[in-house]
Each structure stands twice: as structure tokens, then as C-alpha cells.
Symmetry: C2
Amino acid sequence: MTSELRMNGERLMASLYELGAIGALPQGGVCRLALSDEDRQGRDWAVARMQALGLSVTVDAIGNTVGVYPGLTDTPPVMMGSHIDTVATGGLYDGNYGVLSGLEVIATLKDAGMRLRRPVAVAFFTNEEGSRFQPDMMGSLVYQGGLALETALATRGIDGVTVGDALRQIGYAGPASVGDNRVDSYFELHIEQGPVLDEEGLAIGVVDGVQGISWTEFHLQGVSNHAGTTPMRLRHDAGYVAARIGVFARQLAQELGGDQVATVGHLVFTPNLVNVIPDTVTLTVDLRNTDAEALRLAEQRLWAFAEQAAHEEGISVSRNMLARFEPTPFAPEMVELVAAQARLRGLPSRRMPSGAGHDAQIMAAMCPAGMIFVPSVAGLSHNINEFTAPQDLIAGANVLLGAVVQRADRA
Amino acid sequence: MTSELRMNGERLMASLYELGAIGALPQGGVCRLALSDEDRQGRDWAVARMQALGLSVTVDAIGNTVGVYPGLTDTPPVMMGSHIDTVATGGLYDGNYGVLSGLEVIATLKDAGMRLRRPVAVAFFTNEEGSRFQPDMMGSLVYQGGLALETALATRGIDGVTVGDALRQIGYAGPASVGDNRVDSYFELHIEQGPVLDEEGLAIGVVDGVQGISWTEFHLQGVSNHAGTTPMRLRHDAGYVAARIGVFARQLAQELGGDQVATVGHLVFTPNLVNVIPDTVTLTVDLRNTDAEALRLAEQRLWAFAEQAAHEEGISVSRNMLARFEPTPFAPEMVELVAAQARLRGLPSRRMPSGAGHDAQIMAAMCPAGMIFVPSVAGLSHNINEFTAPQDLIAGANVLLGAVVQRADRA
């Protein structure tokens, strides 16, 4: 009965605090930028844990590190994973929680003397955050085959160092190849990084997919004029069109409903003077939806509105796609395994999309993938005040444990 | 018949080009910041013209310079005036046109051997632009008694120099006192600095007043959150409220109609990242109207809307008045004199407010004042490409000539 298998919650929490001490910031929180010396220390610590569990550890050419706990058959493993790099002002949980819970899942199996039909693996992928090197989710992308190793290694970080040099410098340019990985399936346990579970008082988010992302940058070009001497009817005000787009983006999300979100996060006025009508405004609209068709519809309506509004004001508009990712639905059987575990353990849960990017969406292209969310207090993320209560962290890890056992032990 | 009195247009144009050569910029336009060495050269040139016309020239303690052409009686003069300082990227006409036309009015009277009942004066006031020292219209404010001389002299410019030191340095800390000026009336001829006359193909703007100005800075404080993981219903988006205020400002101006204008010229997002809901937005709304009551109504409606919109989004709003000037209506008899001269000379004209500030609005507190506008091509102002066609400049100067003769020769 997997419902009775429970992990050692105190040991999980102790491991989170131990890893969180590496790269700890004086004001709280953690900074372990990808492939920095702090990242190396964190990696060394995690590899030591893998070795202490007797796992066979491999490091590949992009620094992805995988520990495997053998199964009764020599088949592709059920993998648990995430990352241990952080943003510059990170918390203790983002990424680390998934990796350390994976280690505890294996520790629990080992303590119970259990072998499952299939091997169980735990992985941490290189540079998930993308704070030092672009793109983010780099390690899992290379692992899965979506990004050429040579391209990744040649990428220069914000400090001018290449990924390849940084890997060699910290001793994580491993010997394992990256082109022929085989994985049965992939589970990622992660803090929500949003407010929904906390707001609704739920313990578990059963993640059914990762939102597709569309980032449009609009460049509005009007005519700068004196705010006092230019009658309203003679204006070509880029700021007014930007305001209309900002109001429309909200209406659009509300009208489309479902998971649709729309955000104007970046907006710059030129010349930005109290008494001058702005001639140039640059603004971005971030649209996300789990439904590919709905996302396309949202984009089309947004673009059409921007053109109409610019036309009505007699200004020009151009747009530039800063980013575009299709939604990633997770495999229904993986989603159902997570939902069943939450039910079995009496944990209140809901289906939800992930609004942030995760290695799981990359892995979903090579194997069935799923994610489990636990609440983030006030939705704080990429913030030194990121916090999830220990009982929520332990509950989530037990859901992972149950789901992995079910998946790895299936006939 | 004043309708037959015409000035020497070529001489007026030659004087504009001559003064415009002082502080000329390599790319065109002029830079004669108040009390700079270029301003000194411009002043010396204008004073020499006054002296060549035989005017009695006085310079007061704030550097305002007045030349008087005697009348048949020793009464307060009918004054024509403006300024000869410019912004850093100024044109040939802003300010200079009014002063040099005033000199040509007197030259025309002198050439015709005409003395009027009252003296006629021409003045250039110190630091109208406010580019180097704040506030703008400083010289006329001190002349009129609205600003204490000591306060003005102690004002430090953007280069750290005080007005008093700068005046001494260029030799324009004059001996004339500033507390007891008596003026019959004041005319200011100026380029429109807006697009209305150019757009409507009119030669003369009969200015009936200067718009009141209300500058509100709003500080919107919401909550920063992840653009992907925060559902629309849980957002406290300062950028969305700013967008609603931007749209409302336009609606407000359209609904109030008349001269009402509303401009969001300055807007800053924080943290200003594509995928982060902005927590803080600062924006300004510039409201102007010639009607004091309408301006107050516009302010009240704007402030109430901002509070309502902030409340609906669950964010806080505070506001700060950056500037507030009541509208200045010009004396009806002065406005009518200008309108009559335009009619008499067959020049198409319209009544209109001034959307920009001018020395005339300061002078209006001490004597009947009026202004005459001529077209600015495309409304360009404070711009090296500022341009008014010579025939328009000459037509406007002849309206000034006629109005001054009528006013100074009245019984």
C-alpha cells in the first residue's frame, strides 16, 4: 500500500536547510547562479548525497547530473528532477525542493528495502533559471535534444564566460553523452510560484500542463507636441494608444476566461516629460494560455486591436515577438497518477496549469511528464522571502513518492 | 489712419536673423540660456538697437531691460515685450519676435515722425524660459511684484550659479528698482507654439487668455507578481490602473470640450520587466483650461476616477501637485483692439487661448494685457526647426503696430 509509505519529513527539511546554506545571502535567501562556485558547492553536496544513497551517478557534457536507483529490470528509469541553480535573489525551495524530495523518495525506498520494477532516477539539470546564461532550461533542453550541445557550450553569460569554460572551471563538464537518453517518464515537484493554492487553501496542485507564452513588444510612433498648445483633435499621442492597449489586454483576458492571462509589464515613454505629448512608447504584452488555439486567438485579437487603436490616433505601430512557446500539455496518465495520490492521502487539490517554465515542459517532448505543485505563501517567487510551510513541503513530497512508486512498479 | 501705417518688413526679418546669429547652433537653431554669455551678447545687441533709436534705456535689478519712446504726455507707457533668452535647442522666433517687433514698431513711429499721447516702451524680461533657472517668467514676475527680488537673485541654476552672480557676471544687475513700476498696458506678440493657426490657415490668433495649468503626479502602489502564475482575479496591477487613467484623461478632455486639454506625458513602470506585474507606476496628468471653474471640475473628476480605479484594483494611490496656475483672462478692451486690427488689415483670425506660459500672463496682474499669435508651422516649438513664414511675421508685427498706436493714442 503506497498510501502507507511516508518519507522522513524532518530529514527532507534538514536537507533543504543544508543546501540553502550554500550561497546563503546575508539578508536571507540564496544566490547560486548557474555554474558559479556556489553552484559547484551545491552540486558537490548533492552528488555526495547521491553517492551516500549508493546511486550510480553520471554527469553529462552539459553538467546535468543523474543518480539512478536500480529496479528489478534494466529498463529506462522513472525520473524525478528539477534544478539547484537559483536566481540572484532566490529562495530555499525553487528547484531544490524537487531535487531533494527526489533524493528522499529514493532514501525512503532504500530504508524500506524496496526495489520497484523499473529503476528510479533523480536528476538536476544545468542552468534552469537562465539568470547567468540564456536560454533558461538549458540543461534539460540539451538532455532532450532540443538544443545542440555545441551551441549551449558556446553561450556567453552576462559575465562574458562561456558555458563550456564555466563547466570546466567547476569540474562539471562530465563524460556522459547527451544524444541518446532514454527515460520512462518524468515527475517534477515544485513550489507553485504563484498565489492560487495559498489563496484557495489547497495542499496540492495537479499540474495538467505548462502555459504557452507569447511576448509581443509594440513600438508606437506618434508625434511629440506641446501639452498646452496642441488641441486634442490634432494629437498623435503614442501614450494614449499604449493606455488603450493596457486596458484592452485586461479585457481580453477576462473575455477569453479559462487560464488566459495578459500582462503589460514593460512600458517606456519618450521623451517622458510632464508637458510633452509622448511621441514614442515601447510596451510589452505577455499572453499565456494552456490552450494553443486560445493563445493564438488572444494574439490575433491583441494585434488587431493595437493596429486599430494606432490607426484611430494616426500613429504607426510595429511589433516584435520577444518570445513564443506553444503550450505543453502533460500526459493524462501522469496527471491522473498525481491526482490519485492527492486523493488517496486526503490532500485537497486542484488541477491547474503552470504559468512559469520548468524542465518538465522540456522533458515532456521525450517522455510522459507530470508536475506536482505545493503552495507558495503569497505567491512569492524569485524572492528571498519565498516560503512554503514544512507540512506542505512534506505532503507534496509524499505525493511524489506515491506517484513514482505507482509509475515505476506498474506492469 | 493706422491701417496705412506699415512697418519695414525686411528690416524686421534682418533683425531676427541678426539676433539669431548670436548663440547659433551648428545644426541650426539657437542656444542663449538665460544670463549666459550668449544671452549677454544678445542683450548688448538689443540695447544697442534701443540706443540707436534714441530710447531711454533702463536695466533693473533682475536684468529686465526697458527702452522708452516718449509720448506727448508724461504718463505710464504702453509696453510691448517678451524675452530674448532661449531654451537649449531654441529657434529664432520664440520671444525674440515680440521684442524685435516692438523695436520695429517704435522705429516705424520714429521714421514717420509720430509721437503718440502716451509713451511707448519695449521690454525684454529676464529668464522667461526657465531652462537654466526656475521658475520660468522670473523677470516679469519680479517686475510685477509676484516674486521677491531677493528670492529670485538667490535662485541657483542647473549649473549651481545663482541668478545674482550670473547677472553681475554679464553686467546686467542694473540700477533700476523693481518695486514701483507703472505701466498703462502690455502687448505681447508671439509665435503660437501650437498647430492651430497653421492647421486652420489663419494669420492671426487673437489671444483671449492663458490657460490655467494643473499638473498632478499620481503614485500607484500595487503588488508585483509573476505574469504567468498570477490569475487575473488576484492581481493588483499598478500598470493597469495607469492605463485606465490614461484612457480616462482623453475621455475627460473630450467630454468637457472647449479648450480643455489633458496629457499623460510622464509615466514610469517599476520593475518594468516583461514577465512581472508592475507594482509601482508614477504618472503625470497635465490639465489645462482657460476657464477656472472647468479646470477645477476636470481636476476633481480626474482625482475621483484615479481613486475609484485604484480601489477597484485593490491598490493604493497618492497624488502630488507638481504645478497649479489659475487661468489668466486678458482684458477685453485689449483683446478687442487686437481683433479690430486683424479685421482692419484683412487678416483671417480667430480667438484662442494660449496653451503655453508667457510674460503677458504675469503682466496681466498689474495692467490690461493682451497677446497676438502668428502661426507656427506644424506647431513646432522649443525646437531648432521652429518656423514662421516672413509674411506671417510681418503681418503680426503690423497688427501689433496698429494696436499699440490705437492704445497709446487713446483719449
